[in-house]
Amino acid sequence: MRRGLSTVVGAVFFVVAISSVAAYVSISMNSLDDLAQSIIVNDAQSIDRLKEDIEITTVTLTDTNKFNMTVFNKGPISTKLTRLWVTDQSSNPITHQKEDLSVLINPGEQKQNIATNLSITANPTDSYTLKVVTERGNTASFVLYTDISTQIDLIVPAQVLPKAKIYVIEIITNNSTTLSTIANITGIMKNDATLTPTETPTPTYKLGLNNNELAIFSWTFVAPSSDGLIKFNASYVGAPSGAYVEKIVDVSSVENAQSATSSEWSEKARRVGILISGLPNPVEGDPGGGSGHGKYGIGIINPLDRPVEVYALALSSPLGEIFKNTNPVGEEPIYGWSTLDLDLGEFSVLLWESSNDCNPTPCTGTPRLVPGESIVEWKVELPNDEGDSILEAPIFVESLTSEGKLLAIYTLTSDEKYPTMNIFYTDDISDPLNNWTYKHDDIPSGQRTQYNVTVQNSSDNRDLTAEVALTIFIPKDFSNIQADDGQTGWDDVVIVKNPDNSHFIKVDTTATSFAKSTYKNFSFNATAPVVTEKSLYVFATTTFYPKWSIASQDSGPEIASAISEAGVIVVPPGPPPPPPPPPPDITHGPFTFDADNDADESAWTFVSDFGTNGLLPSGSTRSWSHDTNETPSTGVGPQSGQGGNPDGYVYTEASSPAALSDTFHMTFDTTLNASTETWQIEFYTNQRGNDNHVVAQVQINENGGGWVNVGSSFGGEGGEVATGGNDVWTKRTVDLSNSGANTDSSTQVRILLTFPSSVTNVWHNDYGIDTVTITGVTI
């Protein structure tokens, strides 16, 4: 009884103590668990924070001067923009504004029009720094500049006639190396002749100019009635001081003012560039219809010693919709062309893209390669009926290459509807329209060469009603320039040598009219420079028709013209011809047999152990036969020799009465000295036919000791080529010393062919041998 009571009391104490400790431990464990969970959650949040990756890609201003921001979520998790900070860097003092955002962006999503509904507004002439903050605390910034690094290009004609229209184009490029946008850019064009534009500048402004983007503005002025120089000054609203370009236009009453070529290729080419060839001016010779086509040629000239990859090439014009909905023909390359209507007013584009060149299909996007020191052409013909009355416009020729973006600008200077002129070169003066080009490959160094220029009126409903002139500028390294004798239809050939030794050819057509859909060729000769390495030159060639005026024009005569920048590749003299091969050493070989001449065949003895000996004509059954094309047996045996078609070869004619287990051998009559040389035999075999199981074996006979096998046998396992397939010649090589006994000074060699012992179609066993070479090597 007493013992039991103490046990109970002790047990109670024990339970109380254990429960207390357990409670403590439990609470401690819970706390530790909470801590661990919290650390895990915290780590996860930290990882998410690190994963978050956003970028403000563009910022522009809306018509109401609100910021219009595009943010790209580059990270793998969604993000929420919670705040926008805007700092006006141009104000004094600098002002800071912030506004809350609530913009969710999914991974990979680009959200646009952010901040357009906020109360923050911008001054278009100020520069701003924008910074967005995400819910996780990450930030992204963007700078919106008004005065950053820009490139201004100004395009004006070098010369114009009095009262003529002057088309002036300003190109502004955002070439900043930092992510930035120029807000609402507006071009400014001033001149020192108080000329005012005849039309509202086009366009009036551009919303937001991002990195590497262009803004193009054009103005039209009318030149004064008197001669003089006009200085144009191009800039833009908000440009930093000094950011402007000036160019001078010469207003001159010289009638042929516009004929002077503006080609830059007056010397040996030293950089990758665009060659313009055949662009007509104007482009509308057949208004309202007609089938005439103008030739548009673009070349990429590559004087470097490394290849240039061309990814895209485009002809575009901001006016006249010249390339809109056109239907090109005669494209070279055939695939990859398209026309684009960018919905930018009259802006139209004719485009070639390597990614669109689907020949062969599927489209691989493989760029077109311009090998080092070469010229590659793109050619296309467009109808002369683009149908818009505005024909005075620049044509931008652009190309995206592995050497960078190339740009050339060709300006149409004639408006109204008019015959369309083309100019190009040809190597076939009897059919130049189908053989037009603007490159001359492989002109030998120092050699006198004839060049042929073709002038074409590609309109099919309008004649030229006066003389046509042609000018050719030849770089200074060429000499001895002369017009080709005896050609008719050209007058007044003038060849002028310039102070820098370049030459200028000017010639007029004899006839006072140039009928529609006709052409005239003009040929001249020039001696190419002596070069030690491949050298590329350009003949800048222009044709023009200067004597046209129409009553509706108050700006004086217009000039129709065309330009062709023809590339000329002069190559140095080739290496001296290799010395003739040494005569064969008959004691060492090689001894050859190609079954193409009697001498070969007479050096061998052909034996058919069960048929007729000798080398017989094709079709001689159960014997060695000679042939140069397919054997008489259908679908079996060689189709031609190993060297091509036709080409001689020998074979076993297996037609009946040839039988199973027949043997044939061809023995080289000359004995070989194997005591001082080791010998090797090479030959080609042809085994075509399902039941062609012939076994070929090389054998030697040392001093009459009997024929022994050397090396492995060939064939036997069945036709290498099935019946009716294209035959295949297989090279076999056997080292005659493989037998280990080939050491005698009088050794003979032969090829033994053995027919199979059991096949259904014995006639399949037409087995061919060709091009046997026996070579000795001194021991």
Binding site: A23, S31, R83, H96, G137
Partner: protein, 157 residues
């Protein structure tokens, strides 16, 4: 009879002794158990407090969302405006913000706050008065009442 008397005396002494011992042991047991429970409760409370404090400290996170140097002050260049954002999951109280020379580690200016409470996702803007020099790096350090430190470095314009 004689035998009965002797037996009765011996049993009473044993019972009394047993009772005394039992009572003493019970008293000591109750004391020890009570002491240990009290002790455990105190430790438990301390443990919970410590864990809670550390958990909250662990979840504190402040970013410096925007810092700009105000040049148009009198005297000039005398204010640094700092905006902080509580991107953590718990409320916190910023007690001071210091401007520190990152090279020497000396405290250049301090703004001690009495109303620096920030609920999650809220911002707090404040000025630190200091005559800053242009194109110079400064460390900005914010301290919370849980002794968390948040630091960034900025370069004056």
């Amino acid at each position: 009879m004689k035998l009965f008397r002797i037996t009765t005396k011996r049993g009473l002494g044993t019972v009394v002794t047993a009772m005394i011992l039992l009572t003493a042991v019970a008293m000591m047991g109750i004391f020890v158990v009570d002491w240990s429970r009290t002790n455990l409760a105190v430790h438990q409370e301390k443990l919970e407090s410590t864990f809670a404090s550390n958990l909250n400290k662990l979840n504190e996170r402040v970013i410096f969302e925007y810092i700009w140097f105000d040049a148009n002050t009198s005297p000039p260049n005398n204010i640094v405006n700092i905006t902080m954002n509580n991107v953590g999951t718990v409320g916190l109280n910023v007690t001071k913000v210091e401007l520190v020379d990152p090279t020497l580690g000396t405290i250049l200016a301090t703004n001690s706050l009495t109303n620096g409470g920030m609920i999650p996702s809220s911002t707090l803007s404040l000025n630190v008065t200091y005559t800053w020099t242009t194109n110079t790096a400064y460390d900005v350090i914010a301290t919370t009442n849980r002794d968390s430190l948040f630091k960034t470095q900025v370069v004056s314009p």
